[in-house]
Structure formats: structure tokens, C-alpha cells
Amino acid sequence: MSVKELLKSHGTPPREVYFDLENSPFVPKEVVEEMLPYFNKYGYGNPAITHKPGWEAYGVLLEAKEFIAKTICAESPEEIVFTHSGTEANNLAVLGIALKNRKRKGKIVVSAIEHLSVTFAAEYSSKLFGHEVAVVPVDEDGFIDPEIFEAYMSKDVFLVSIQTVNHEIGTIQNIKELVKIAKDYNPDVVFHTDAAEAYARLRFSVKDLGVDLVTLSSSKIHGPRGAGALYVRRGIELEPVIRGQISVEKLWPGAENIPAIVGFKKAAELAFDNFEENVKKMKNLRDMLMEGILDRVPDVLVNGPRGNLRAPDNVNVSFLYVEGEALTIELSLRGIYVSSASACTSRMLEPSHVLLAIGRKYEEAHGSILFKISRYHSEEDINYALENIVEAVKRLREISPIKGVKNE
């Protein structure tokens, strides 16, 4: 079996629309061009070495920190720590604080719908240090009830990690309120929020939210892979979780990936230029796709909230009576690239923990499809997608032995 043969059999569809921005970025030309000199012309040195290419690299690294710090209203660029991904930033946040607290018994509070890089890091801390991990449930749209959250607070909680926006169903959490509850209970608790899905789509200020640690990821904002960041509020102490030679970042050893950091910054600049307009465009396309699907395809469930508390780029629906992996392939043959959280697509043959946490039944998660909208999509893309979604679902429903009431 070879990938080449598989791709040959697949063929290249006449038109292609990439909606799978959750799983890998589409990196626009402007970003790639900005990065190119840093491979071999300028700033290709190690930022910790005393020569011209090294100082150039250090210079752009500082500029990137400054820019990113400004966009989240951090007090100082020094509060931005570069990692190589959002996964690494989440691990640094959770395990870095857990390591600091390794000598004490204590509790980490997370939500039931965190990204696995938070969930698994918390579980790992429990395994390594015996910390208790408490999982706060969410309602059917993914929201945390503040009263339930408060019931999870106790004196032994040393870390709370709740994401700002959910990556699968787009729920926008009220972080400010949760921070207040946690800090009122215990001012020393460290509050981490994974804002990988919020950054550059929602405006937020770390000061206003009152958070201590914030995860950002380049690959979630049309930047390249290979760069992530953790905002670490001044005064918050973490221990590094990986070991090695320190270049610039004391908390994340290893030489910094300068071209990726440059791309990360450029991607953020592009998103923050015309911010309001970009977001408005995303929301319009999001609603056009979601409403179009609901209008034209029977028996569809929306996963996640509707309206203003849904991320501007998130469309997640379950097409009942069809299976998601088959649907991703059928759509791929038509040039529409999406992902599914169905059991058949997972290593464990189980549906996503996010869909189960909002109470979706196994068979409801089965036909789930995630679309991520970006400002690089056009109305024509959405129309093309809609036409093909209608056809693809129809074809797979013809194959399925389970028919909806309307299809019988």
C-alpha cells in the first residue's frame, strides 16, 4: 500500500476548500514570505550567540514578544515565553505549576472539554505527584455553571485550567467570572487559560481577565507550526518541564525556532489589522454555512452554542444516520477538507470527549463534522461547500440502513 497510489485513486478535485484549520494551518503567502529570509539571509543565527546573525535573531524574537504582549495587554514582553507549539505551552503551564507543587498534596481543576494537552498533562501530574484532578462538568452547550465551578474550589486547589474557547464546539467561556470565583476563594491559586482558539478571533486582555497563564499557538491563527507561547504573569513561578541547553527561554530549553516565531508574529499582525472586519467576515461566513446546512439537510444537530457565545470561526454539526469518517472521505473526493470526531476516526474507537461531555450520544457523535472558518474563505467557497455537503450526505444516507423519519 502506498500513499502515492491512494492519492492517485483520489485524484485532484476541480475546486478545493480547506476547512480543517483545527488540525493543521493553511499558511498564507504573506506569512511564508516574511519567514523566508530567516532561514538563510537574516537572523538565521541562534539568538543566544554573540555575532551578527545571532543578535539579529534576538532582535526579532524580542519584537515578536513585544507585539504579542501588546495584543493581549500583557504588562511586559518578558511575560511571553516561546515554546514550539500550543501543546508544549499547555504542558509547561500545567506541569510547570505541578512540579512547583510536587511536595504537597493538592488539586488541579480542569473542565471536561479541555484540549487533551491540558487533560493529559493534568493526568500525568496525578500519576507523577499524586495530585488530585477534579473535572468540572459542562452543560449541553459546553458552558461551565459558575455555581458548580465554585463547588469545586477548596483550599488545596493550586491550579485551575479552563480554556477560553473550545476547539471543537466553539463555546466561549466566561473566564473573567471563573477567575474571580477562584481567586475570591484563594488568592494564591494559579489560573491558566488555554486561549489557542480565542487568540486573534476574540479580543481579550490578560489584566482584565485576571489570568496568570495563557496558552497561544501559531498554528491556530494561520501561522506556521513550530511556534507557541505561554503568557506567564510576572511573579508566577513555574519549573521547566523539559531539560536542555537554555538559549533565551529559561522555561523552555532548546534553540528557539526563529522563522516560525517570525511567522507567528506576522500571522498575528495580519489578524489584528482590520480585526473587527475580519471577525465580522468570519461570523457571516460561519452563519451562512451553518444556516445553509440546517436549511438544506434534514436531521442535523448543531454541536455547541449558537449566537454570540459561539466562536466566530466554528461550525460543528452532526449529520444523523451517516458516519463521520466516511463523510470526511466523501467530502475530500469533492475537494472539501474537514474532520470528524466520530469513533471510527479515533485511535481508541471512541468519539471525542468533548461531544460526550455535552451529552451527545454515541450515535449523535458518529456523524459529527467540524468546519473552521477563516477570513481567507469566500462566499463562493461556502456555496461550493454547501452544494457538496448536500450531495455527500445524501449519498451516504442512501447507503445507510438507518433512515430518518423524513427519509423513510
Binding site: L6, E330, L349, E350, V354, P401
Partner: protein, 167 residues
């Protein structure tokens, strides 16, 4: 959720694009399914059985599938394989044969072809339920039937376990 790289053979993709013997059969002699709607994966098999030269023979077969591409391709190949065969011959088709015909399935997808064989065996058992059981048909469940049932149970169990985790 943890995803996996999943390389299908071009054959699976070809069959996925153009499955054979698709759909409900109105004049089927027997219909059976394997899988569980609760967990998702279902294969439904329709067989039309007639006496040909004194032997019970599958003259037509079709399927419906609520599952992944491997599920659809397995069911399609299976219906191709059994067409024109005596039931006795069909009884001996293994999931491995299906997987081989498909150019090899990724290991995590074996259960999809196991379910297809399970549905076929179930259909044959059902057919002989009110008829005299032929000698070649073992009275006891064979390991392959058990395996298909195991897959069903496994999925069911997983579902129950997950439901608790999810709430």
C-alpha cells in the same frame, strides 16, 4: 481525541466511490445485520437464495452500511464474493479474505470486515432457522461467529463505559 494516520488501499477508495450491490432488496430471502446502532457501526446484508442444481445458492446479495469507508468497502466486497456461491461455500468466507481482497485493511479497521462476516453468518443461520439445518453447518457457534459477536459486545461495552465517563 487522538487521531491516527490511516492509509487505505486504493482499492478501498475505489469501492467506496462505487460500491456494488448497494441498497435494500425487496425480495430478499433473508436479511441480517451486525453491529449496533448505539455504537455506530452497522452492516446489513440481504440475500436472495434459490435452489440451483439442488444446492441452496445465493443468487443475489446486497448491503447497507452505517460506518466508515472500510465498513462500506468490506460489505461491498462481501456481497460480490457470495454472489453465485452455494451457501455452504459462502459460509467459509473469512474476514481475512475480505481484507485481502481489499488490498489489506489497516489493523484498527479489521473489526469492520469481521462485522461484515458476522452479518453474513447471522443471515445464513437465520435462513436455516425454520429449515432443516444442513450437515455442514455446525450446531455450535464457530470461533468466527463468536469473534463477530465479541466485536459487537466490545463496542457495546465501550459505549456503556464511555457514557458513564461522559456524564
Amino acid at each position: 481525541m487522538s487521531k491516527m494516520p490511516l492509509l487505505y488501499s486504493p482499492k478501498v477508495l475505489e469501492i467506496f466511490k462505487n460500491p456494488k450491490n448497494l441498497g435494500k432488496m425487496e425480495d430478499a430471502s433473508v436479511v441480517a445485520e451486525a453491529g449496533s446502532p448505539a455504537c455506530g457501526d452497522i452492516i446489513k446484508i440481504y440475500l436472495k437464495i434459490e435452489k440451483v442444481d439442488g444446492e441452496d445458492t445465493i443468487v443475489k446479495a446486497s448491503f447497507e452500511s452505517y460506518g466508515c469507508a472500510a465498513n462500506i468497502a468490506s460489505a461491498s466486497i462481501l456481497t460480490e464474493l457470495v454472489k453465485g456461491k452455494t451457501i455452504k461455500e459462502a459460509w467459509n468466507i473469512s474476514w481475512k479474505q475480505i481484507s485481502d481482497e481489499l488490498g489489506g485493511l489497516p489493523s484498527i479497521k479489521y473489526h469492520c470486515s469481521i462485522l461484515a462476516v458476522g452479518a453474513l453468518k447471522r443471515a445464513i443461520r437465520k435462513y436455516y432457522k425454520d429449515r432443516q439445518r444442513p450437515e455442514w453447518l455446525p450446531e455450535e457457534e464457530t470461533p468466527e461467529e463468536k469473534q463477530a459477536l465479541e466485536v459487537e459486545r466490545l463496542i457495546e461495552r465501550l459505549y456503556k463505559g464511555l457514557e458513564q465517563v461522559g456524564t
